[in-house]
Symmetry: C2
Subunit: 386 residues, 2 copies
């Protein structure tokens, strides 16, 4: 094996071959469309909180993803929280969540006093491993009426929340099958997946619920924001009311007939989102070009490869990902530190959720693949200005 | 008493003397400043999620209100929720809340599995009645260690959340005294009170915590948004972390070391807020002029008067308020319906919280003044374009 420092320099040089010498961002939003025009139009209308851009944005998301129903929210976290509520996740219910994900999917369970139950992912998709989960659930669960209980904790297992990591589809058909067998509500965390399709179907539209994020670090953005995709009208009506403080519709009376949340996307942010849709396809095509440049730069080497999702039609390649080989895992932290100090924005994957102080006490299956991937994955500068 | 229909027409005509014949809005935001310029600057910077406008906005709020610390949030509700958390409100703690308020102050308690305990208001301020509360707490509470328990429920009474209704100061000095006697965390719901001062001190800066709202219906707006005002640095540090998903500060690592929330104000919305501050004083001066026009129109009549806050220096008069005399309370609903059908936006006060389906089961004191005011108060068109 090469000396550690030499190896790190070689990897940094390969990245720089792609990014050039200037600052290389992990991701940058792009504003090539009518962003300013729509924002000014929003101001001129005087409707900056509620207003027509919200419905327009929801319709754009609906059309693009081919969802039955769409609700714009003020964050992806809010959309997750509301999807759990509408899915009927109650206090002490268990929610199956891959440990390799942004912490919001677990936090949203805790908001409801529900229990995250951590499950493993597979290497080829970076997403939830349906076969491993099936075998696990056969062992640890027990059918009672329509529900499946965790034998050990006696708690109901109510929902499954697979992530489409970095915009790559998990094995969603396999996951769908498992969710049906064990009567689990399927909520897709497609926060990173706007523009990602699995066999011509947009991610987030396979489950009963799908969650998108339009945070500033995503492929397209509303500043802060998210969206909830829904299959059923009755769920849509419930969710729509919950994000609007459970207000009863009335021309002037102010009556709120249940616990509710202030989770609406503002008209201002929706205006930005409407303009952003104009360039989504162009951005994704640039992300695919960037992928190919990275693949070329890292071709034929003994220490790392670029993650490719070969069987999915079509990932958005939101963030490019380097997978370190097993024999060089010890360089990861130094590589991250050195590259970041040179303004090359490398990022490790999230610290696995089951290791976080507020989450380590919750149930989990064997998480060896996630633990392996945590050591191997590094996100590369993925700005389309590269 | 005049015939009901004649009386309603007379009141509507008095209002129309002020508003003219065109559509009269309850409130409209105004965009006289550099709103478009700042929004375009925000787009040009490419920082629409996090960015410099947030700190700039927080500093503007800080300077204007003379707060020690300010945190911009994505809504007033979020700021309330975080203030309860930082104040140490726990599951089953009771939180004293005037029943006459927007439902967010109770919902935020329920988010934490805490218990809203409804208290009464007084007619002269429309805010929490400290004397009545003092007498009530002497009767129903019991000192245990540093805390006071509700004798009946044995639960700790942890916080008090007075509202400054429509921008009018509650008797905040009286409330402060009661909060000290009973060791209650004082959280001012000043959501409607940007620009309102009580004896030269901005509302929201008397308590340990104060909450502002910048929703689109408020005196100035960020589209959706709020702010948390804090007195102590340690509270500020805790709250700042909680609104940012409890993320540990680090250049590239993604570690979240506790339950957290996605409650940050976006840079885009902060950019709008920065521009809005430019015209705050002008807006308030127009609101005061409107007050005087209404007072003149309703001078000397036997059935209603305009609410004035005579002892406070200086309310923002966000919404003008008509107070019906006791002998004509039966006209309220017809008046509301008729006026709204003529595009004169009258609004009743919120349905009292202790009557809402998800809140009626919680503890309450005698709420007779609130019940009386619910029947008497009507908000009048308060747009400064009138």
């Amino acid at each position: 094996m090469m000396k550690k420092n030499l190896l790190i320099n070689e990897i940094i040089n390969k990245i720089k071959k792609v990014t050039g010498n200037s600052k290389a961002s992990l991701h940058e939003p792009v504003f090539w469309g009518k962003e300013k025009e729509y924002l000014c139009k929003c101001i001129d209308s005087s409707y900056v909180a509620v207003g027509d851009f919200v419905e327009l944005f929801e319709n754009k998301v609906k059309k693009y993803t081919n969802s039955n129903y769409v609700i714009a929210t003020n964050s992806g976290t809010s959309a997750l929280h509301i999807s759990y509520l509408v899915a009927g996740v109650k206090q002490n219910d268990e929610v199956l969540i891959p440990t390799l994900n942004f912490v919001a999917s677990s936090n949203a369970a805790l908001y409801l006093d529900a229990i995250p139950h951590f499950v493993d992912v597979e290497e080829k998709t970076l997403g939830l491993d349906p076969e491993k989960l099936y075998n696990y659930l056969c062992k640890i669960s027990l059918k009672k009426g329509k529900n499946f209980l965790n034998k050990k904790t006696k708690r109901r297992i109510k929902a499954i929340v697979p992530t489409h990591t970095f915009g790559h589809a998990a094995d969603i058909n396999g996951i769908l099958k498992v969710s049906k067998i064990f009567n689990l509500n399927l909520i897709e965390d497609a926060s990173e997946s706007i523009g990602s399709f699995y066999k011509n179907k947009h991610l987030g539209t396979f489950g009963k619920f799908g969650v998108l994020s339009f945070n500033g670090n995503k492929t397209i953005t509303t500043g802060a924001g998210g969206a909830l995709l829904l299959q059923n009208k009755s769920d849509y009506i419930k969710a729509k009311k919950l994000i609007n403080v459970s207000k009863l519709p009335h021309n002037w009376e102010l009556i709120y007939d249940g616990l509710g949340y202030n989770y609406k996307m503002s008209n201002l942010q929706a205006a930005l989102g409407c303009a952003q849709f104009q360039n989504l396809e162009k951005i994704i095509s640039k992300k695919h070009k960037l992928l190919n440049t990275y693949i070329k730069a890292f071709k034929k080497n003994p220490y790392a490869k670029i993650f490719e999702n070969k069987y999915q039609k079509r990932p958005n390649y939101w963030l490019q990902t380097l997978v370190l080989n097993n024999n060089i895992l010890n360089i990861k932290n130094t590589l991250l530190s050195k590259a970041n100090s040179k303004n090359i924005m490398l990022r490790p994957v999230w610290k696995l959720m089951h290791k976080l102080p507020h989450l380590y006490k919750y149930p989990k299956m064997d998480l060896s693949t996630s633990s392996k991937l945590e050591k191997k994955l590094i996100n590369l500068p993925s700005s389309i200005y590269i």
